[in-house]
């Protein structure tokens, strides 16, 4: 069954889009990730204009983050103060990002920048995940489940930064500039790539800010809601590329898929999950890289001039 998308201005197969949302939802439930980094490239592969894919994915991530944050909030796994500081950086970063997005689009380079961002970030994150997970798999086998922990209080240049703030929930006393910068950077990624940014935010919170793992997911979800909401709003105003019909189809599929994914994921070992996710991220990265490197079938492309 075909449905005509009002903003993307093409007709798509309704079941294919539902299935796409469902598949990505399954993976996000399985691995505990937002799935934006998968949904945007898949929409582009399907033929949705990249600008619409990015803006609409941001809208869909609002929904998936809201549905995820309640459970964490109830268990007290959201560091509200940290979330707000990250958010302040995120709002500025995503606003700048939407502006950069519109500028690159007028230059005709937005598709390239989206692809390059994906290749770089998916490559780094996927590679690290796979490396870390395989090491963990081998180590648990050798030492029977014991994993060496890194020292918690290492002093580096980070602790010399000004504007120190106390974050009670995370048990941290660090410069506010740090979470502000992380928020800003991830906010830009949200605008440019149509991702929640959890896959950058979560490692940054653990390794850069030194937050305890328990509050990381909840806090990251909390701030992603507002940053993606900001991107949805700004893209609507500036580029009119948010397709509500597409977003609704994706989130119906996504919500249902996520439930099955979460149930299935409970039966797998954590490091096996991370290794699988790493492989998945790397394969999306390779596909995008392949498209950039091989000679295109037509060297010339045509676009309406008002974009």
């Amino acid at each position: 069954m075909q449905i005509y998308l009002p903003i993307a201005e093409i007709s798509v197969n309704i079941f294919l889009i539902l299935g796409l949302g469902g598949g990505v939802g399954f993976l996000s439930g399985l691995f505990g990730v937002g799935g934006g980094f998968l949904i945007t490239p898949l929409l582009i592969f399907y033929g949705i204009p990249p600008a619409v894919s990015v803006a609409t994915a941001a809208n869909q991530i609002v929904a998936s983050s809201v549905s995820g944050v309640f459970a964490h909030w109830k268990r007290g796994n959201v560091d509200l103060k940290m979330g707000l500081v990250l958010l302040a950086g995120g709002i500025v970063g995503s606003t700048v990002g939407v502006w950069v997005f519109a500028w690159l689009r007028s230059l005709g380079q937005i598709d390239l920048v989206i692809s390059l961002c994906y290749v770089i970030f998916l490559g780094i994150i996927g590679g690290m995940m796979l490396f870390e997970a395989t090491r963990a798999i081998f180590r648990t086998r050798r030492r029977g489940g014991q994993i060496r922990r890194s020292k918690k209080h290492q002093h580096s240049f980070i602790h010399g930064l000004p504007f120190k703030m106390r974050f009670y929930r995370s048990g941290l006393y660090i410069s506010a500039l740090l979470p502000l910068a992380v928020g800003f950077f991830v906010g830009m990624l949200t605008a440019l790539m149509g991702v929640g940014g959890g896959f950058v935010m979560v490692p940054a919170m653990i390794y850069l800010l030194g937050m305890p793992t328990g509050v990381v997911i909840g806090t990251s979800l909390f701030q992603i809601i507002f940053v993606t909401a900001n991107v949805t709003f700004l893209q609507s105003v500036q580029t009119q590329t948010v397709d509500v019909a597409l977003a609704i189809l994706l989130l119906i599929g996504g919500v249902i898929g996520a439930q099955f994914g979460a149930q299935f994921g409970a039966r797998l070992k954590a490091e096996h999950l991370r290794a699988l996710l790493g492989l998945l991220v790397l394969s999306v990265c390779l596909k995008l890289l392949f498209d950039l490197v091989i000679a295109p079938s037509d060297l010339y492309s045509v676009m309406p001039g008002d974009l």
């Binding site: 007709s11 809201v66 909401a229 609507s236 509500v244 676009m303």
Partner: protein
């Protein structure tokens, strides 16, 4: 609607015209060498739109050849060339064209170059190769040719420029019909359909009829709303997402 029923409708419609007479018009209509109409003057893009055909039918007074051109609304188009830089393919040079039809197709009862000499087709800008595309910036001759070909090729692969003229079939010596196909990605706007009656290699008569392609129903309203009240649209998009996420978390709460 089946093809045969549409043909029947066309014939009935043509039959009614002289019967109704329409007073003084009847004499003029009878003298008209070319009469044309469409099965539909409005292509409505609804939520379920996957493309459609519009039947063009008409009659010629005496024998003659018929050519039909369908031209969509004009728009600016940018043709971009990809170049390999540091191993990856990036957009480099580009050419901007003004007044490129967003849709173009033609139809004829016989190959066009047999019906009319090349200069006549060029004068009337009939057929893809006779369309004028003027680049905004100066291009040298070889570039102009390459960019023009790229523009036409890309529009053709998008299904917006007809690959080759469609077939006009004559039902008798006088009655003719052809189907104009509009694909799922048909741009909206006002289309101009020109019908040329050609005799002895010259244009004997031209009829112009408009056709409107517009979005209707829910998708039109959403589009309209998104462009006119974009801030409100953004807020609503966020609210829908928040409510949907909340419903999901309640519906699937662990029991």
């Amino acid at each position: 609607m089946t093809v045969s029923s549409r043909v029947l409708m066309a014939i009935v419609a043509l039959g009614i015209m002289p019967i109704l007479g329409l007073g003084g018009l009847s004499k003029k209509a009878a003298a008209d060498p070319l009469v044309v109409d469409l099965s539909n003057h409005l292509v409505a893009i609804t939520t379920g739109f996957t493309g459609t055909n519009v039947l063009l039918f008409g009659a010629v007074e005496d024998e003659g050849d018929v050519i039909v051109t369908v031209r969509g609304p004009d728009q600016d188009m940018v043709v971009r060339k990809k170049e390999r830089k540091v191993g990856i393919w990036v957009n480099s040079e580009s050419a901007r064209y003004k007044n490129v039809p967003a849709y173009y197709t033609s139809a004829a009862n016989r190959p066009m170059d047999i019906i009319a000499p090349a200069d006549v087709l060029l004068d009337y800008r009939i057929g893809l190769k006779n369309l004028r595309f003027v680049p905004e910036s100066k291009l040298n001759d070889s570039d102009q040719k390459v960019y023009r070909e790229a523009l036409v090729r890309n529009m053709q692969s998008a299904g917006l420029f007809g690959e080759r003229p469609a077939k006009i079939s004559f039902l008798s010596n006088q009655l003719f019909r052809t189907d104009i196909h509009f694909p799922a990605n048909t741009p909206t706007g006002t289309y101009t359909i020109n019908v040329y009656l050609i005799r002895d290699g010259g244009v004997a008569s031209v009829k112009t009829t408009p056709l409107v392609v517009s979005k209707t129903g829910v998708s039109a309203e959403v589009y309209e709303f998104a462009h006119r009240y974009s801030a409100l649209y953004g807020i609503i998009a966020v609210i829908i997402a928040v409510v949907a996420g909340w419903i999901a978390s309640v519906a699937f709460r662990k029991r």
